[in-house]
Subunit: 198 residues, 2 copies
C-alpha cells in the first residue's frame, strides 16, 4: 500500500473505481495528472464535481439531463405514442445517432440481475408504468441482448402486454458487415429463426 506517496495512492484508487481501468492504467493516469498545471487539475476536479451536481434525470424518461426535461422529451416533434425502453443513457445516444427513431425513450438505469441484487424495484420501472397512458401504442424493448437484458425484457413484457399495448423487441441477427464465421452459435440460431423471405 505504501508503494506510492499518499496523495498519489489516493488518486490511483479513485481512477481504479472507473470501469475498465486496471492498476497499471490507473497509475499511468494518476501520474499524468501530476504533470497537469494547477489550473488544469482544478478544471478536471471541477468537471467531475459539476457533472454530478448539474446532471439530473429527466422527469419523464429518466435519461440524464441538465434541465427538468431532456432534449428528446422537450421536443414537441417526437412521437409520444412509441416508447423505446433502454438500459442506459448510452443506448439512447446510440439509437439517436441512427436518426431513424422518432419516438421517445425510457431509461431503466440498469437491468434485472438477481446475482447483483438488482431487482425490478431498483430500476425505473414504476416511472415507465405511469407513462403508459392511452396515448401509448407501442413499447419497443431495447435492453441489451444479455441474460440480464433478456430477463428485463421478459419481465416488462408480462407487465405491459395485459394493458393492451403492443410490445416489441429489437431484431436479433448477424451484425451488418460481420462474417458468419465469427458469429456465435446463439446469434446464428436467432438469425435463422428471424429469417425473412426476399
Amino acid at each position: 500500500m505504501a508503494e506510492y506517496i499518499l496523495p498519489l495512492e489516493k488518486l490511483i484508487e479513485q481512477f481504479r473505481k472507473l470501469p475498465g481501468i486496471g492498476k497499471k492504467t490507473a497509475v499511468r493516469l494518476a501520474f499524468s495528472v501530476l504533470e497537469f498545471s494547477a489550473e488544469e487539475a482544478e478544471a478536471f476536479a471541477e468537471a467531475v464535481r459539476g457533472a454530478k451536481a448539474n446532471v439530473r434525470t429527466c422527469a419523464v424518461c429518466q435519461n440524464f439531463s441538465d434541465g427538468e426535461l431532456c432534449p428528446v422529451c422537450a421536443d414537441s416533434e417526437r412521437d409520444r405514442s412509441v416508447i423505446c425502453v433502454v438500459e442506459d443513457a448510452k443506448a439512447v445516444m446510440s439509437l439517436e445517432k441512427v436518426k431513424e427513431f422518432g419516438g421517445v425513450y425510457h431509461v431503466l438505469h440498469g437491468a434485472i440481475s438477481p446475482m447483483d441484487g438488482i431487482g425490478p424495484d431498483k430500476l425505473r420501472i414504476r416511472e415507465l408504468m405511469t407513462r403508459l397512458t392511452e396515448e401509448v401504442n407501442e413499447v419497443i424493448i431495447a435492453t441489451n441482448p444479455t441474460v440480464e437484458g433478456e430477463a428485463t425484457a421478459m419481465y416488462l413484457t408480462k407487465l405491459i402486454k395485459p394493458l393492451g399495448i403492443k410490445v416489441s423487441r429489437l431484431a436479433y441477427g448477424i451484425p451488418v458487415g460481420g462474417e458468419l464465421e465469427y458469429a456465435d452459435e446463439v446469434t446464428l440460431m436467432r438469425a435463422l429463426e428471424g429469417r425473412r423471405s426476399i
Copy 2:
C-alpha cells in the same frame, strides 16, 4: 459538439486530456461518474485536486514527493555515490521494484526532444549538476531506449564525463523471456554488440 449535455461534455473533454484515453473511453468514463454517488464524485474530485496540491518534487532528486525529501533521499542507508538518472517518476518505481539498486535517483521530468520544443533547459539538468560533488563516483543514465532518451543520454554524458565521474548506461538487449523472432532489428544489433562470453 452539442451531442451531450454540457456538464457531461465538459467531463468527457477532461477525460480526453488523459494519455491513452480516446473519445469512446472518455464517454464511457464520464457516464460512469454520473453513476457515482455525490460523495464518490466529491472524493474523486478531491483526489485530483489533492494530488496536484499535496505533491511536490523532492528537493534533491526532483522525484514526486509529499514531503521536502522523497523516501529514497530521506533514507540514510542509500548510497549517495551512485546516481541513477531517469526520465520520470515511473522509471524510479520500476527500478525500485527490482530491489537491486542501492543508490539514489535523479528525475529529469522528460527527455530532450527538439521536435516538441523540449531543450535541456526544460529538464531538471541544472539540479543534477549541482549534485555532482566529490561524493559522487558514478552516474547511471537510465533514460528510455528511444531517440529522445538517447539524445538526452548523449547530452548528459558530454556534460558529466569531463568532471571525472564514471558515466554508464543500462544494457541493451533482448528482453528476458522474449523470443528472438519478435525482437526488432535494432535491439538484436545492440544485443549482438553487447554479447558477453560465458
